[in-house]
């Protein structure tokens, strides 16, 4: 095996040496030609690239044809990707149809809603701050719970709350709205025959769990003091 390998290496070695001794000028010329042709192709792709960032970037396949094959091999989704204006318009129409039925749904994209005032935007940022703060707190509690031994003492609620009633109301309000909207979105998709097969079974199970979660949230909301 090693002998064979040595012979192959020797032949390859000799061929490379010969190639460099006899064809150096031609290779140089080829490199120059490649660069020139790249410049030409680069100009032609500038207008048709469809990319907003670095729209003048040369198509790799135009510079080295092996890169086109590499892209096909490594990223098969590229061949199927549809980012056309037509597709975007179709998606916009789908959202509009959904928004007609559920105008207040949480998931309707911002572009299809009336613009926010500065005060509304500030309120939204505050809401995200509060929601992520409480979500992080709950995640940490869960991490600690995972470490606890079965049957060990369960941590008791502290005598004083570490969040304000207003924060909890905002948190529960966000979670309720999100869950209601999520249920609307899935039910709408089932009605439109957009969810089939295995996903339909999962969807029905999920909706039932989310409805239970909603009831729990509504119960907690009723317990929040006014101040």
């Amino acid at each position: 095996m090693n002998k064979k390998f040595l012979v192959t290496c020797g032949i390859a070695f000799a061929l490379i040496a010969l190639a460099f001794l006899f064809f150096p000028a031609k290779d140089k010329k080829k490199t120059a030609q490649t660069n020139n042709s790249t410049d030409v192709n680069d100009t032609s792709t500038r207008t048709s690239s469809g990319f907003s960032n670095f729209s003048d970037a040369p198509n790799p396949g135009n510079e080295d044809s092996s890169l086109e094959a590499e892209a096909e091999k490594l990223w098969p989704h590229l061949a199927k990707q549809d980012t056309s204006a037509k597709k975007k318009e179709k998606v916009r129409e789908e959202w509009n149809a959904f928004a007609t039925k559920y105008p207040k749904n949480f998931y309707i994209p911002t572009e299809l809603r009336p613009p926010m005032t500065e005060a509304e935007a500030a309120e939204k940022r505050r809401e995200i701050d509060i929601v992520s703060k409480i979500d992080s707190k709950l995640a940490v509690f869960e991490v600690n719970a995972r470490k606890s031994e079965p049957g060990s003492a369960v941590p008791k609620a502290p005598a004083k709350a570490d969040i304000t009633p207003e924060e909890q109301r905002i948190y529960i309000g966000f979670k309720t709205k999100e869950l209601e909207s999520r249920i609307q979105l899935i039910e709408y998709s089932i009605e439109s025959s957009g969810i089939n097969g295995d996903q339909l079974t999962i969807a029905r199970k999920d909706i039932s769990a989310w409805k239970k979660e909603l009831t729990d949230l509504q119960e907690v909301e009723r317990k929040i003091p006014n101040s």
């Binding site: 790799p60 597709k87 979500d135």
Partner: protein
């Protein structure tokens, strides 16, 4: 000219010598690659896993470059591809389908078992069916003790609580990640599942999840079982980058200079109302020390297993400091990519969560692994063209500046999902 030829001859000769000294060939190494891992290996991409993103994940790229392949159950969620939502590429039914999640396609036994959110403990004990396969409960077992006395005894039975959807759809009924490998018996292993032992600190800005004893015990047990398979000819591990320097966190200086209020906060947070919402210097030091212990253990395990090691921590530090140059074959360059999501006129390696690599970022990661594998085993797996990956990366070429979308409802929910999965 002659000097050039001589140089080339020397290179050719040294390549031959290196190949001769190699213990195994690429074909032998990659006869059957196997993967255990987390969101990085599964291809989690702000905030979901789908076929497209699974296909561009680093183990898939490295295996293809090595002339081989890995097989996996492909997913269509759970959750949502934030980039597609913000770019209006996904309508209500597409979003609904993502939130529910499911399988796009399945295989009888995946050779790639990497699952989002997993660490070494999950690799050992979380299957597609049960959150913890070790969990048991006491149950009554009824039987005839004598011919006239029907009674019961207490027996220990499995207590299977459903695992999360990434495990359910990714592993299905194949067992845990390690059990999958024991069935597959791979010749080469992508074996890193370390990041979630420490990433949780950055995402929840809290140290509660750090557990050195559990990490050490479970990485060692994982490697022990993998070595016991007897099939491995090689493998690769990588160190975990400095999680306190990821794009998800940004520097914050408290205007009132309150103790514990300055440090690093989540990028989406507009204000800091409690010390819990930042990682201060003391906490960052604790995380850094934990990371050093964790990475030393990863390197020690790689040495013991005879695996290659890619120093992803060093790589990330370098990119953070100097960027990653991008150059086309003709020399065109959009500049150097930064360790964040891409912006107009600024390439970037990460997706919109500031935690996980984009398609281009995975190509960079794959190349670092390829370099480590080539160096360790004396093989010559070709690298991926990073220019090619950048050129076709939809987020790099049509970027979305998430900071302009922070008032979108979906952002609040996406953050909840991320905290829920990784914290």
């Amino acid at each position: 000219m002659k000097l050039k030829s001589i140089k080339l001859l020397i290179i050719a000769l040294s390549l031959c010598t290196a190949s001769l000294s190699a213990q195994v060939t690429v074909q032998q190494l990659f006869q059957k690659p196997g993967v255990i891992g987390d969101s990085l290996s599964q291809g989690f991409y702000g905030v979901t896993v789908e076929k497209k993103t699974q296909d561009w994940a680093y183990p898939v790229l490295v295996s293809k470059q090595a002339g081989s392949s890995v097989s996996y159950n492909t997913l269509k969620g759970p959750y949502a591809n934030l980039e597609d939502i913000l770019k209006l590429n996904c309508g209500p039914i597409c979003l609904a389908s993502g939130i529910i999640g499911g399988n796009e396609s399945t295989v009888a036994l995946p050779t790639h078992a990497g699952i989002t959110g997993a660490d070494y403990t999950n690799a050992l004990y979380t299957s597609g069916k049960c959150e913890d396969i070790r969990a048991t409960k006491q149950a009554k077992q009824w039987y005839w003790e004598t011919w006239y006395w029907y009674t019961y005894r207490w027996v220990t039975v499995p207590d299977c609580v459903d695992s999360d959807k990434f495990h359910q759809y990714g592993l299905r009924d194949s067992g845990t990640q390690i059990q999958v490998m024991e069935k597959v018996k791979p010749t080469f292993l992508f074996g890193t599942v370390a990041a979630n032992h420490v990433l949780c600190t950055a995402l929840a800005t809290n140290l509660a999840c750090l557990d050195q004893a559990r990490f050490t015990k479970d990485i060692r047990e994982s490697m022990r079982r993998l070595a016991a398979m007897g099939s491995l000819k090689g493998g690769v591990l990588f160190t975990v980058p400095n999680v306190t320097a990821i794009g998800y966190l940004e520097k914050y200086t408290d205007p009132q200079n309150r103790p514990g209020f300055s440090g690093r906060k989540a990028f989406y947070r507009s204000s800091v109302s409690s010390a819990d919402q930042v990682l201060d210097d003391t906490e960052i030091t604790t995380i850094t020390n934990f990371l050093t212990v964790l990475n030393n253990e990863v390197k020690a395990q790689a040495t013991a297993m005879g695996f290659a090691v890619a120093d992803a921590k060093l790589l990330f530090d370098d990119i953070k400091e100097n960027g990653r140059p991008i150059k086309s074959p003709s020399g065109y360059s959009p500049g150097s990519a930064k360790a964040n999501w891409p912006l107009p006129n600024q390439p970037g390696l990460f997706g919109l969560d500031g935690v996980h690599p984009n398609m281009y970022g995975h190509a960079v990661m794959a190349n670092e692994l390829i370099k480590a594998i080539n160096a360790k085993y004396g093989v010559a797996i070709p690298q991926v063209s990073e220019y090619n990956a950048w050129y076709y990366d939809e987020l790099n070429r049509n970027p979305v500046d998430l900071k302009n979308f922070l008032t979108n409802n979906i952002i609040g929910q996406a953050i909840s999902w991320i905290i829920g999965i990784f914290a």
